[in-house]
Symmetry: C2
Subunit: 208 residues, 2 copies
């Protein structure tokens, strides 16, 4: 059991190191030696866990997909409606993209044209955003806009924040995401709920 636990920890460390090196150097250039050395394990140990760099990238993308799945469920019960849930979740995603290299590298790998596609984090995010907006429509809190159209614009904008963030952290800041929702909510929300919606997120803003 102790041995299994250690193997699991080594695997986690390798995934985090791989994410760090992919994020810094890009998938194509990233060297396995740099990854194993950052994880503090031998090349042999790396190869015991992952057959290839592609296998490591798949593992990073899968770990990121799990984190994204967690992010979109963690606020479920706090929000008054599905539109506020979408706002809160986008703030959480931006925070985590800044703080969590595995999540960030997962998105970067998902749009690497050179790699064969993994689980597709953008599609996963898109499906969830569209689902949230459809729920908002069902709750009667969405204005006269199609959930699909709103989802396209929200996903495009959040993708832009994610892509531009590494060069200039302001793009992923709480302030920028809040401004985005201040602009968009009056168009998305039914007038009856607009006053109750909080563009800055409806839970205490705790930076990790």
């Amino acid at each position: 059991m102790v041995k299994q636990e250690r193997a699991l920890r080594t695997r986690e460390a390798l995934i985090k190191s791989a994410a760090t090196v992919f994020d810094r150097d890009g998938f194509s250039v990233a060297s396995l030696t740099a990854i194993s050395s950052l994880a503090g394990v031998s090349n042999g140990a790396l190869h015991f866990h992952f057959a290839s760099k592609a296998a490591l990238a798949d593992a990073v993308e899968e770990a990121a997909a799990e984190r994204l799945a967690h992010i979109v469920t963690v606020h479920e019960e706090e929000a008054a409606n599905a539109l506020q849930l979408l706002v809160n979740t986008s703030h959480e995603l931006a925070r985590r993209l800044t703080a969590d290299v595995v999540l960030r590298a997962g998105f970067e790998l998902s749009r690497d044209q050179v790699r064969e596609g993994g689980p597709g984090l953008y599609q996963q995010w898109h499906r969830w955003v569209e689902g949230a907006l459809k729920r908002a429509a069902g709750e009667g809190v969405l204005n006269q806009v199609k959930p699909e159209d709103a989802a396209t614009s929200v996903v495009a904008a959040t993708t832009g924040f994610e892509v531009l963030g590494p060069q200039d952290p302001e793009w992923l800041s709480h302030r920028t995401i809040t401004r985005f929702w201040r602009l968009l909510l009056p168009r998305l929300a039914d007038p009856s709920v607009l006053g109750d919606l909080v563009a800055a997120g409806s839970r205490p803003h705790v930076r990790p």
Copy 2:
């Protein structure tokens, strides 16, 4: 003169080939041999024009910056106001990103974290978008929103369309950009001009 002209053509061919290979393989992996071979010139001819792969990437980014500068001026006189100009120009940018590999590769290079920054196409686009929205405010066609906030959201969304386009062309389609503006214009435009604004673009839509 004939010799100079031929040299200029070779340079142009190399820039286009480099853009094609960067776009396909990524900057880090792209090989100079693949680039010269695609341009139909020798490795020696490539090195006569460009000292390194980095120099070629700079040239691609500069060529893309020139194209972007052209795109944002070409519709200047057709639009009734600066908000319609922004709509038309974003449609034109999406069309060109689909059709012109040099423009596309220029944006990709601009967000390559591994490279040292060139002219920064995103900043160039951001400045122009913000300028257009400020002009719209001056013309009295902008609603009660800050031009800077609107610019942030528009740039984030267009960046998302650009980044997601290569994997799924629907993101850069005329339909998607039109839907985006149908969503956003009622929020951005002063009610007095909203009815005159054309989300699909106010000039005949001609695909290149």
